[in-house]
């Protein structure tokens, strides 16, 4: 089942797994937020774009990028308070 542009749910040996549509990399169990299983980098919020807050880099906001560990595709971006855990923006499979 497709989750979004880059992620899908696969069933292997009866287990639901999150995988990359582009390269086939298996992130891990579908019950985990894929962001937790991804390569993640944090940046000052100016990273959100050259025109994003040109005069201000707030300490209470950060820009997070989430990449497929297999092919490096970026499948999610958060601009968020540093204390916030990753939110689950793809379908939270119960």
């Amino acid at each position: 089942m497709r989750l979004n542009e880059y992620l899908e749910i696969k069933v292997q040996d009866g287990q639901k797994l999150t995988g990359c549509i582009k390269c086939g990399h298996i992130f891990g169990p579908a019950s985990e937020n894929p962001k937790k299983l991804a390569k993640m980098k944090k940046f000052p919020m100016k990273r959100s774009g050259p025109w994003c807050n040109p005069w201000e880099n707030r300490d209470d906001m950060e820009h997070r990028e989430f990449y497929c560990p297999g092919c490096g595709r970026m499948f999610a971006v958060e601009v968020i308070h540093p204390d916030e855990p990753f939110y689950w923006e793809t379908n939270k499979i119960e």
Binding site: M1, R2, L3, N4, E5, Y6, K39, K41, M45, S48, G49, P50, W51, C52, N53, P54, W55, E56, R58, D60, M61, E65, F66, Y67, P69, C71, G72, R73, M74, F75, A76, V77, V79, I80, H81, E84, Y87, W88, E89, T90, N91, K92, I93, E94
Partner: protein, 620 residues
């Protein structure tokens, strides 16, 4: 009767209801007294059934489709006996805690009777320029409680037998800085109601009251079924999103967990910030409005927006005392800012659900612009009249969110407000003592992605022929953090910015034939003449004595991007650079696209190499 209503008659009458509603909107716009209405279309018109549920809403500010029902229910519950509800009555209400989003968005509701039976209600909303309170435009940013806001009027009878009551109209106008505008707009609202009454009367005379009543029942039932069917087409599951409300200099989270199960959709706001000191608190009516703003365009693109039926599938969980369910006496004059942001947060959740659907994945949509710069001016205009200029013209042309199948629309405005638009600058200049220097789309404002967010605008203006010093005040959202979040790996759109450039000689240079075409050119001129740039906060109180040598500047926000920018077609990036929507630096560093030296020709091999390098960097 409903079962006996033949399909042809139903279709004719159903469309007649929408047409009557549209005609009410035209009547209101064509007679309105403020640029906010006849130019920017910050209004709404609606037809509600006898119980107050929404049957028809026009394409203006969608949020307001949720306002009439609680107000009508309040009237029915509290005023049926005293003062009574009669044909031709009109009730006016601007109480946040009874039904409106914020007190400036006053609503009129008017019952329509046929041979003594209540058939339906006509309703309209206008964002009034000023309804009183300590701050101009009634934007009371720093109010501690609603006693520091403009008056909140519960529904009161402002008209009887189709005629405005002079005493109650005077009460309504009494607190405003622009009473003449409230007076004028009250008559425009009445014109809209009269148009609705006239057409409904004609319709009943032609088709009979039972057919009209049956049509209203079927409209609601049909919309309810169509929306349930739409939900059944979509995957079950849960999607989360977080956004931030800004009250300078602080930010406060709104958290939502959207759960779709069979034909039910639940929005759970647990974890959202408590209410704050300041005007951005939102009653539950504002929260319902924000949900409707996101829901109707995203999921009901082919379903009539009969919210009385659609809302049967919606559940909202909002803890009392939080930003999404404020209680009296929390101040609320800026609640609309929170409502818009809530709509963007919901759009993110719905985008996740659509991306999860094979059938509707192409409709997955990133966040749309924050407020492009809600500047307000107050003073005496070129005609010697006091004015408060609330410039939605700046607000309603930020960039649209990118879709999974196409770029966001440049200077699109809001998906949540289809008809409101960037007004005609010439009309603004004709009515307000301002001269615009330029109006253009801004490079790198659209959130990068496989599909780029729409570009936002930038504009600048100076005083022109003002009969008093102008006071400047700002309101907006999306300055401290981007409101137009990306999805599926897309970046957020740019934030909005507001500046005043002081000690400039722009008017003098323009008189000599010089034209300024961008913020960049103004900055270069400021460096030449020693002008200074003052950054204005998202909510700034009055900036007194806005001098004739000052230049006001607003740079609007762009839409969010969709997908990894490194997956964007190189020809699209090339076109963006040629159109000055993306800078060469952004093309190289974010999109990974390399051009051959001194040309717009893409170096495909160099681009592939650069993109490989960026992906490798990501994995280090």
């Amino acid at each position: 009767m409903e079962n006996n209503l033949d399909p042809i008659t139903y279709e004719v009458l159903r469309h007649r209801m929408w047409q009557i509603n549209d005609e009410m909107g035209s009547a209101l716009i064509n007679t309105a007294g403020s640029e906010q209405i006849y130019e920017s279309k910050d209004l709404q018109v609606m037809i509600q059934n006898a119980e107050g549920e929404g049957l028809a809403v026009a394409e203006y500010i969608i949020a307001h489709c949720m306002m009439p029902e609680p107000i009508i229910k309040h009237v029915l519950t509290n005023f049926s006996e005293n003062p009574g509800i009669n044909d031709g009555d009109v009730f006016l209400c601007n109480d946040t805690y009874i039904g409106v989003v914020h007190p400036q968005d006053a609503v009129m509701v008017s019952p329509f009777f046929w041979e003594g039976e209540l058939i339906c209600w006509f309703a309209n909303m206008i964002h009034e320029d000023d309804v009183g309170g300590p701050m101009m435009g009634s934007w009371c940013f720093n109010a501690v409680d609603f006693f520091e806001d403009p008056p909140y009027f519960p529904p009161f009878k402002i008209a009887e037998k189709g005629e405005l009551k002079k005493d109650m109209l005077a009460v309504w106008m009494n607190n405003s800085r622009t009473p003449q505008v409230l007076d004028h707009n009250a008559r425009s609202r009445m014109a809209a109601i009269h148009a609705g009454r006239r057409r409904m009367t004609e319709t009943i005379e032609k088709y009979g009251v039972e057919a009209v009543k049956a049509t209203m029942v079927k409209m609601k039932d049909s919309a309810e079924k169509m929306f349930k069917d739409r939900l059944l087409e979509l995957p079950d599951g849960t999607w989360e999103n977080i956004g931030y409300i800004e009250h300078t200099p602080d930010i406060y989270p709104i958290k939502v967990k959207m759960t779709k199960k069979a034909d039910k959709l639940t929005f759970d706001f647990t974890g959202t910030s408590k209410t704050i000191v300041g005007g951005r608190n939102m009653s539950i009516h504002g929260t319902n409005a924000g949900i409707a703003m996101a829901l109707l365009p995203a999921l009901c693109f082919d379903i009539p927006w009969t919210v009385g039926g659609i809302w049967k599938s919606i559940e909202v969980i909002a803890e009392p005392g939080t930003l999404v369910n404020a209680l009296p006496p929390s101040p609320t004059t800026e609640a609309i800012c929170t409502t818009w942001q809530l709509a963007n947060i919901i759009t993110g959740c719905i985008g996740g659900m659509l991306a999860n659907s094979e059938k509707f994945k192409h409709r997955a949509n990133a966040g749309w612009c924050g407020l492009g710069g809600g500047a307000m001016w107050m003073g005496v205009n070129q005609f010697g009249m006091p004015f408060v200029g609330v410039h939605s013209v700046n607000a309603e042309n930020g960039g649209g969110g990118a879709y999974a199948s196409k770029d966001g629309v440049n200077t699109a405005g809001y998906v949540m407000a289809a008809a409101p638009c960037c007004g005609n600058i010439e009309r603004y200049e004709a009515m307000q003592p301002l001269l615009y220097l330029f109006w253009k789309e801004t490079a790198d404002s659209g959130g990068p992605g496989k599909f780029r967010g729409g570009a936002g605008p930038e504009t600048a203006y100076i005083q022109h022929d003002a009969q008093s010093p102008l006071l400047h005040q700002g309101s907006g959202w999306g300055l401290h953090n981007p409101q137009a979040t990306g999805i599926g790996g897309g970046y957020a759109g740019s934030t909005m910015r507001q500046f005043i450039m002081k000690d400039m000689n722009v008017a003098e240079l323009m008189a000599k034939g010089k034209a300024f075409r961008s913020f960049k050119e103004l900055k270069e001129e400021a460096e030449r003449v020693g002008g200074t740039l003052e950054v204005l906060q998202v909510t700034h109180n009055l900036v007194p004595m806005w001098n004739p040598t000052d230049v006001g500047i607003h740079v609007g926000s762009g839409g969010g991007g969709y997908g990894d920018p490194l997956d964007r077609d190189t020809w699209r990036v090339k076109q963006d650079v040629m159109d000055d929507l993306v800078s060469p630096e952004c093309a190289r560093d974010i999109y990974g696209v390399v051009f051959k030296s001194d040309s717009f020709e893409v170096d495909e091999a160099g681009t592939q190499s650069n993109r490989d390098r960026i992906r490798a960097e990501r994995l280090k």
